[in-house]
Point group: C2
Chain length 761, copies 2
């Protein structure tokens, strides 16, 4: 079972919901209709900072079709959302407005239009405050505290070796400060929930969300009931990328409160503008790096300071702080490190989880700096990375040593091998400047330092030999259900068409925490494998009785039980399952999988932080139009060590999609603010990669088996973002000879820089 003779795992499999999704049959939350359904729409602040003197809902209540207007005080529970301490975010603001777009009332009406009309006439009496809009303003001496505890959301340090000594020993130091802007998740489906009360006092919430169990906990707490009274069902979700967590708890709570008040189903479906202004963004960052190296390219020390703009509320800032802290030194063997990472509050839409979770920002800064080091030393950019690359047995930034599944060198070699077969880039000409950039990265898989890593999964085989698989982590489009179905199919010998993988239903599986950190395949898949293995034991035992042989001779394959010694001796699995049921063998199992605990020093962040890392190397060949700044991507190579490929087609999709996400971050996307208000909260003004921008990605995989994942697998959902963004930036530098120190490097930025470049062409 451990890698040999796999029949389903490792094969190209169409997503179980692929046809349904591309044919438009799939019903998303916003498509749902329930008799008597009412619609919620939030009234939002239009200023970034103010004290609330009063909220007047009379005009809204008088609006035709309006059924109910909720204010913060109407929430039976604590009126708090937010996944993590310090739990600083109200569902509806009652005393202070901390960002432009913050909700302070929910209008519920017979139609979405009436709700929206009502929301427009909720009056709020505000005493404006001077907004704090930048990291510097936030940290300035005497700055107004955005929250009572001050403006630093979270600050952590990583200390490894003796960084002073490292700098003393070095031959040269390369320094630079890098910035990234806020990025919008840009999922195709904005957030939506629908809360349906039932006569037994429970409420079922259908949600386009990422973490159904978070949602359940918050809704129950804010309703003032036990979590057992709330059921969350994951709906088809058109992307999340970290974005449908806090906001889903916000609208899920509001819909549930309204549903119970009205005893009617209540839908809240965001429009695009609400989705952008009213849900978390990617953290903007400023990262100052100094790298000390030997002449031969050996990196001996890095000193790094990370500042993250977390916006108005903590959201996942604490974890992003830690993740950048641990990742910013890169996938290298560096004896001396001193890293500080600090997230601050500002009066802007809050930042939180966004595909990559701080690693793209950190990797851009780190890999730009490494590239500059290579240039200073005249070294090949791949060679310098190979020289410092982490290998099995090396201590990484947190001092953790893996004895295996550290496939970085293989990814570099694979890119190098591919590069060696490429024709050289053309010389620059009248119009085009050609460039090549590479970058390496690592990304910790699973929660690790960010929380306990438990997942529940169930597998149920029916008497007809079909299997139903359920896991506590959501499929948000990433293909989780397909991977889980494959694993169950592999273990049970049941063909894929006979395996049905469900979305999450919180009633049915163990609280599995959030669907984040590229952990679904690794930890979720492991739970499915465990659950299926127990059911398999029943089927094997029954088949052995039917064959009258020892269990060791039974093979389950292609919907048959057969003998390993005689493939003609076969019994349909449906007959085995029926016999097993009537003989009293259990055919359903609920497994609980727990990853090894993260154990580390919280002062220095030295210790074991993640159960595994994904490693990768990216390469971009581009050309830049001198006259317009336009960039054309000629080639994109991306190679990741994923431990084991469960579904090659899924892997390619994740690498292509993640890379395009990183490309957007690096080249196109920026949430623009004016006076603290987002001014491009729509997809006409916010430039997002479209199908036309699809990269010519060549996805490659290295399989260095991860002992903590099913069949050796590691997640790959997030890592390509960082690799693509960093490699793209290096390619632009190579093409233009200009080091851009801020993302996005838009066509306009390139053009401005080219024009400003002294004395060239």
């Amino acid at each position: 079972m451990s890698g040999e003779n796999l029949r389903v795992v490792g094969t190209r499999v169409r997503k179980v919901d692929g046809v349904e999704l591309v044919t438009g049959r799939a019903k998303f939350t916003g498509d749902m209709k329930f008799p008597g359904m009412a619609y919620g729409y939030a009234a939002r602040a239009s200023v970034p900072a103010a004290r609330i003197k009063g909220i007047d809902t009379a005009a809204a209540e008088a609006e035709e079709g309006v059924l109910l207007v909720l204010k913060g005080g109407d929430i039976p529970g604590p009126n708090i959302i937010g996944i993590l301490p310090p739990f600083d975010q109200p569902v509806l603001a009652t005393e202070v407005i901390r960002y432009a777009g913050e909700s302070f009332a929910l209008v519920v009406a017979e139609s979405p239009e009436a709700a929206k009309r009502g929301a427009r006439v909720v009056k709020i009496d505000l005493e404006p405050l001077a907004p704090i809009l930048t990291i510097d303003e936030s940290l300035a001496e005497g700055a107004r505290p955005i929250h009572p505890q001050g403006n630093v959301t979270y600050a952590k340090k990583l200390v490894k070796g003796d960084v002073e000594k490292g700098f003393t020993e070095a031959d040269l130091v390369v320094e630079g400060t890098f910035e990234t802007s806020h990025q919008e998740h840009g999922y195709i489906e904005p957030e939506a929930v629908c809360a349906v009360p039932s006569s037994d006092g429970r409420v079922t919430v259908y949600a386009s969300c990422q973490s159904p169990f978070h949602l359940r906990g918050h809704i129950a707490a804010n309703l003032g009931v036990g979590a057992a009274s709330v059921r969350v069902v994951q709906a088809y979700t058109g992307g999340s990328f970290g974005g449908k967590d806090d906001v889903a708890t916000e609208i899920g709570t509001l819909a549930a409160v309204a549903a119970r008040r009205l005893d009617r189903p209540v839908m809240i479906a965001h429009e695009r503008e609400e989705s952008i202004i009213g849900s978390n963004l990617r953290h903007a960052s400023r990262i100052a790096i100094a790298t000390a190296a030997k002449k031969d390219g050996t990196i001996v020390a890095r000193r790094i300071r990370i500042l993250l703009d977390g916006g108005a509320y903590a959201s996942e800032s604490p974890f992003v702080t830690v993740k950048t802290l641990v990742h910013v030194a890169g996938p290298y063997r560096i004896p001396h490190l001193h890293v500080e990472s600090t997230a601050v509050y500002t009066n802007k839409t809050y930042s939180g989880a966004c595909r990559g979770f701080g690693v793209p920002q950190a990797t851009f800064a780190s890999e730009s700096n490494i590239d500059e080091l290579a240039r200073r030393l005249g070294m090949d950019p791949l060679a310098i990375r190979l020289k410092n690359a982490l290998k099995a047995g090396d201590a990484n930034a947190t001092g953790q040593v893996y004895q295996g599944s550290v496939g970085l060198v293989q990814t570099i070699n694979a890119i190098e091998e591919r590069r060696s077969r490429l024709a050289p880039l053309p010389r620059n000409d009248e119009r085009w400047m050609y460039g090549r950039g590479v970058a390496c990265l690592l990304q910790g898989i699973s929660n690790g330092a960010e929380g306990v890593d438990v997942v529940g999964a169930s597998v149920q085989v029916s008497q007809d030999g079909s299997a139903l698989v359920s896991v506590g982590l959501a499929d948000m489009g990433q293909g989780a259900r397909t991977v889980c179905a494959q694993i169950a199919s592999e273990v049970l010998g049941i063909s894929l068409p006979m395996v049905t993988a469900r979305q999450v239903d919180t009633d049915s599986v163990h609280d599995s925490g959030p669907t984040v950190a590229s952990r679904t395949t690794t930890v979720g898949g492991q739970a499915v494998k465990l659950a299926a293995t127990e059911v398999r034991e029943s089927l094997v035992a029954m088949a052995a009785r039917m064959f009258k042989v020892d269990e060791s001779l039974v093979v389950l394959q292609n919907d048959f039980a057969m003998l390993s010694v005689d493939a003609n001796a076969r019994i349909p699995l449906r007959d085995v399952a029926t016999a097993a049921y009537w003989t009293g063998y259990p055919l359903m199992n609920l497994a609980f999988s727990k990853a090894p605990d993260a154990v580390f020093d919280h002062e220095t962040h030295q210790g074991n932080v993640y159960i595994a890392y994904n490693y990768g190397t990216h390469l971009f060949d581009i050309r830049v139009d001198k006259h317009t700044g336009r960039v054309e991507v000629l080639r994109h190579l991306a190679c990741h060590d994923v431990g084991k490929v469960i579904n090659p087609m899924g892997l390619e999709g994740q690498i292509e999609g993640g890379s395009l996400f990183g490309f957007g971050l690096a080249h196109m996307e920026e949430v623009l603010f004016r006076d603290g208000r987002i001014i491009n909260a729509n997809f006409a003004d916010y430039a997002l990669p479209s199908i036309k921008d699809r990269l010519p990605t060549e996805a490659m995989a290295v399989e260095d088996p991860n002992p903590t994942g099913p069949y050796g697998a590691k997640g790959v959902g997030e890592p390509p973002v960082a690799g693509a963004a960093a490699a793209f930036a290096n390619a632009v530098a190579d093409a233009t000879g200009i080091r851009f120190r801020r993302l996005p490097i838009t066509r306009q930025e390139i053009l401005l820089a080219l024009k400003a470049k002294p004395g060239e062409e």
Copy 2:
């Protein structure tokens, strides 16, 4: 945990859904509305026997609002329902009509009215056959076979000892032949299902049913898909009593097929007439008994022949055949038995499971015969029963010996003790004749010989210390959810308001078979206890760590973990649960409970057949109006050995309800046929006990712990039916001096008999 210091189990608890049900808030299947819902109505045969020459749906299809007309050939799968072999029943008849009321087409339309209009104009071309309407006609030489295999549905024998020898040794023999008529279940809510297709190709069926897993299996088979593609959710169910099994599979299949064809939700909700003519009845029976006894009242042998009228299809006739076979000798120590039990086909609405499952018919016959024996010997009717009563260590009819939980003698003694304190019945006067009747009974608990006895249950504790409980057996009004919630509450120390018990969702628990045979508390409760116990271990382990004590010192009680040695040392369970979650203890468990197998000789039915029996004794005091035949019940005592009372209020409800069911069978209810058609298929003409007929039942319990049930419990849903019916019949005999040998003994029958009685008053 085993009976000591119970805090929730054994206490009077309101049904968890009690308020919801009595206030009318609870939504039943027929109350459900889904957007785009269509409605199905069946076209039914009006003759009891015919060959189908053709079915013409054109006129129905042309009817306004009609969307679809299904015939049997439109069912993708085998067009077969029926829970058991020989699987002889079509979903829609295609070749032969075997009973008046059989469905041959389903019309689906925009409204129930349009569907009904459509159904009226489906044309069927029939070649009539001479109907076979009685047991005698069915078994007559050369009778037309209703099914290819003949007219005997099932026939079994029980042989214990040497019955000839027994009769030789006896001092006297008392013989009699007894009959019972068909009974309608008469649940308050007729059958209803609603099938909702989803875009992933699955279909969810909400059903008022009894055996959600049967439903799932049949729907999947008839759709030609794997069972994993079908989800059945038990809806609030307004009674079932054995009646919502086959018919639910019939309409569930039809609704699902139509829903997938139309890609719309389809509701089929029966009207009362359809419920009576189109779903199974209780078997009518004819039972001939000869009992051989000694002068002192010791029964030495019984020879019994049971004939059951099973109607047009097998349904559960095979199991009812076996159940009557095993039970008809009564709860007595009888060395020699020869019993034959045979079910036959007739051209009438099929018979199947009905509360008591053949035991009421058998008990009426047996206990009437025992009463006649007592009268012949001049013995007190309780005394003769006590003399022969089974005790621990005795071999019962199947030769099975229980070492405990045989509480019959205690129930007789309890009734005797109560009787001894009663004033004597008044003497007969001008108007009233007074009488007292008693009866004893036993009823096998759980599937036993009828199938494998497996149940799945899940218990999930959330971080807030609330618990969600789920079991694979349905709550049809009997209070199953309440019992399961109590057991989980007891095990976990979580207060009842924080425990939510769900209805069955086939996606979430192990296939638990049918909700029958009074097995929910016994086998289902055991599964809940197992599941909760594992979660408890996590909570205790976590609490012990928090207290820094050994686990043996931790007590979970009233939503707190506390120390057994210091009740002031307490931590809220919500804190323990949160810590346990974050520490990585599993807080959900899916348990699988399997009762000991039935092991017996299928030729003689000697062996271990049931995991336990419920034993009981009933007493009726009545008076009969000489002039009108009207019966007034003055007193009804009912004492059952239930092993352990989980919820006294629930127990009383079951004993009162079951007794009234038996009273209806004995005194009021009869499905009347004319030319093979039911002529009283409504509650104006079919006399059913109403709230006015409520018996003055005094429910009593004996607790002789059953080692195979949770806390020693045994089921009690069915047993009172038999006890009440038999005791009532004996009371009428005592009052009138006339032995009525057929149920129901209606007021009219009594009056006719009194008039015919030679030479008395």
